[in-house]
C-alpha cells in the first residue's frame, strides 16, 4: 500500500515538473490572420497589351503559425491573332490549396512569409478560332472552329514571399509551376491559353504573380519557441581542459563541472 502511494506521489511530482518546465519555456504570440489578396500584374499588363486580361484574387485563412488554407479565383479574357489565325478564350478558374510558411514563427511574427503553396485548380472556359488559313501546294484553305465550352484541371506548386509593409497591408510575389491533368479540349484543338493555368499547348506551365494583400487578424496563439541546443565541440572541451590543467589541479574538477553546466549554448 505504502509502495503504491509512493509511486503515485512520484508520478504526480514528475508530471508537475514537466508542466512547470513547459510553462517556463519561452513562448511568443503569433496573430492568425484572414487574408484577402489581389493579383496586380494582370490588370497592369492589360494596359500595355489589351489582348490579355487576367484578374485574380484570393482569400486565405491561417490554420496555425505555419499553415494556411487558400481559395483563389479569377477571370481570363484572352485574344490572340497572327498572320494565319485568330483565337479567343474566355473563362473563370478557381484554385484551392495550402500554403506552408517555411520561416520560423519568431522570424515571421505573422508579418513575413516565405514558403511554398500546393494547389488544385479547375477552370471553365469557352474557346473559339474565328479564322485560320493554311497554305500548301494545293492553295490556301480557310476555315474556323466554332465556340465551345470546356473544363480543365491542374495542380500547382508555388513558392513565394510576402512581407507586411504597413499595418494590415502586405505585398508579395510567387512563382508558379503548374501541371495540366486534363485539358478537356482533346489533343488536336488544344487551348492556347487556359484560365488559371497559362499555355494550354504544354503539360507544364510557369507563371509569376504579384499580390497586394489585406490582413485581418482574428486570433492570437502562443507558440513555444524551439530552442536550438548546440553542444560544445570536442576541440573546445579539449582547450578548456588544457587550460585548467595548466592552472591548478584542484580547480580542475570545479571548472569541468562548471563547463558541463554552462556547456549548452541556448540560441533563440
Amino acid at each position: 500500500m505504502w509502495r503504491t502511494f509512493k509511486y503515485i506521489i512520484s508520478l504526480l511530482a514528475f508530471l508537475t515538473c514537466i508542466m512547470i518546465q513547459a510553462k517556463a519555456q519561452d513562448t511568443i504570440q503569433i496573430p492568425l490572420k484572414i487574408r484577402a489578396g489581389l493579383e496586380v500584374s494582370g490588370p497592369v499588363s492589360y494596359y500595355s497589351d489589351k489582348n490579355i486580361l487576367n484578374e485574380e484574387a484570393y482569400v486565405s485563412i491561417d490554420l496555425d503559425e505555419k499553415k494556411s488554407v487558400l481559395f483563389d479565383f479569377g477571370y481570363l479574357n484572352f485574344k490572340y491573332s497572327q498572320y494565319n489565325y485568330s483565337y479567343l478564350n474566355k473563362g473563370t478558374f478557381i484554385r484551392a490549396g495550402i500554403d506552408f510558411n517555411l520561416l520560423k514563427p519568431e522570424k515571421s511574427m505573422g508579418k513575413y512569409w516565405a514558403g511554398i503553396g500546393l494547389r488544385y485548380g479547375l477552370s471553365r472556359f469557352t474557346s473559339e478560332t474565328p479564322s485560320f488559313d493554311k497554305e500548301n501546294y494545293w492553295g490556301t484553305t480557310s476555315s474556323s472552329i466554332p465556340q465551345k465550352s470546356y473544363w480543365s484541371h491542374f495542380i500547382e506548386v508555388s513558392p513565394g514571399v510576402r512581407t507586411e509593409i504597413f499595418n494590415h497591408l502586405s505585398i508579395g510575389w510567387s512563382v508558379s509551376l503548374r501541371m495540366l491533368l486534363y485539358s478537356g479540349t482533346g489533343k488536336d484543338l488544344k487551348s492556347i491559353y487556359l484560365p488559371g493555368f497559362g499555355d494550354g499547348t504544354k503539360t507544364i506551365s510557369t507563371g509569376l504573380s504579384y499580390f497586394i494583400v489585406w490582413n485581418i487578424p482574428y486570433k492570437k496563439i502562443n507558440v513555444i519557441q524551439k530552442k536550438e541546443v548546440k553542444e560544445e565541440t570536442d576541440e573546445d572541451e579539449d582547450t578548456n581542459t588544457n587550460g585548467t590543467n595548466g592552472t591548478n589541479g584542484t580547480n580542475n574538477t570545479n571548472s569541468t563541472s562548471g563547463n558541463n553546466q554552462q556547456g549548452k549554448v541556448i540560441r533563440r
Binding site: 500584374s41 490572340y80 497572327q82 494565319n84 489565325y85 513575413y112 478560332t129 485560320f132 493554311k134 500548301n136 501546294y137 494545293w138 492553295g139 484553305t141 476555315s143 472552329i145 514571399v161 512581407t163 509593409i165 505585398i171 508579395g172 510575389w173 512563382v175 488536336d188 484543338l189 488544344k190 492556347i192 491559353y193 499555355d199 499547348t201 510557369t206 507563371g207 509569376l208 504579384y210
Partner: protein
C-alpha cells in the same frame, strides 16, 4: 526600419527580374505541313530502294513537287485539305503512274507560334495505275506533321 525597407526592396526587385525572364517571346520551329510520307521499295526483293529519278505533281496542276529528283526517300506528298480526295502523277525512273488518295481532314493546333495545320486520315489504300507501281501498303493511316512513315510504294 532600414532592415525592413531593404527586405521589401529585395522582394520587389527579385520579382521584377523574374518577370523580365518570363516574358521572352517565342518563334515557330516546328514542321507545319502534314505530308504523306511515302517510302520506296523494290517489288521483287522487298528492300528499301531509292529511285534513280522521281517526279511528282498534282493532276491538272502546273507546279511541280519533285522534278526528276534523285535520292528522295521518303517522298513528301501534300494533300488538299479543302476536299476529301486528290490525285497526283508520280514518275519513278521515267515510268508514270497516277495515285488517288481518299481521306478526311481535321484541324490540329501545332503551337501558339505556328498556329494550325490539317491532319488527315487515310480512308483506304490509295488507287493507282499499275504502270510502274506494283503495290502500295498503308503503314500509318494518320497523316501528321511528325516524321512517321505512312505508305510503302513497291515498284
Amino acid at each position: 526600419m532600414r532592415k525592413n525597407i531593404s527586405g521589401i526592396l529585395l522582394i520587389v526587385l527579385s520579382g521584377f527580374i523574374l518577370l523580365q525572364i518570363s516574358c521572352a517571346p517565342g518563334s515557330c520551329f516546328d514542321e507545319t505541313e502534314s505530308y504523306v510520307k511515302a517510302s520506296f521499295y523494290n517489288y521483287e526483293s522487298e528492300k528499301l530502294t531509292i529511285p534513280d529519278s522521281l517526279s511528282l505533281y498534282g493532276l491538272n496542276h502546273d507546279s511541280i513537287i519533285y522534278d526528276k529528283n534523285t535520292k528522295v526517300q521518303p517522298a513528301l506528298i501534300p494533300l488538299d485539305a479543302s476536299v476529301d480526295n486528290c490525285s497526283l502523277v508520280i514518275k519513278i525512273n521515267g515510268v508514270s503512274d497516277t495515285i488517288e488518295f481518299q481521306y478526311s481532314s481535321y484541324p490540329h493546333l501545332i503551337s501558339k507560334e505556328c498556329g494550325y495545320t490539317y491532319y488527315h486520315h487515310l480512308d483506304s489504300i490509295p488507287f493507282f495505275s499499275k504502270n510502274g507501281i506494283k503495290k502500295i501498303d498503308i503503314i500509318n493511316r494518320t497523316i501528321t506533321n511528325l516524321n512517321v512513315e505512312n505508305i510503302q510504294i513497291y515498284y
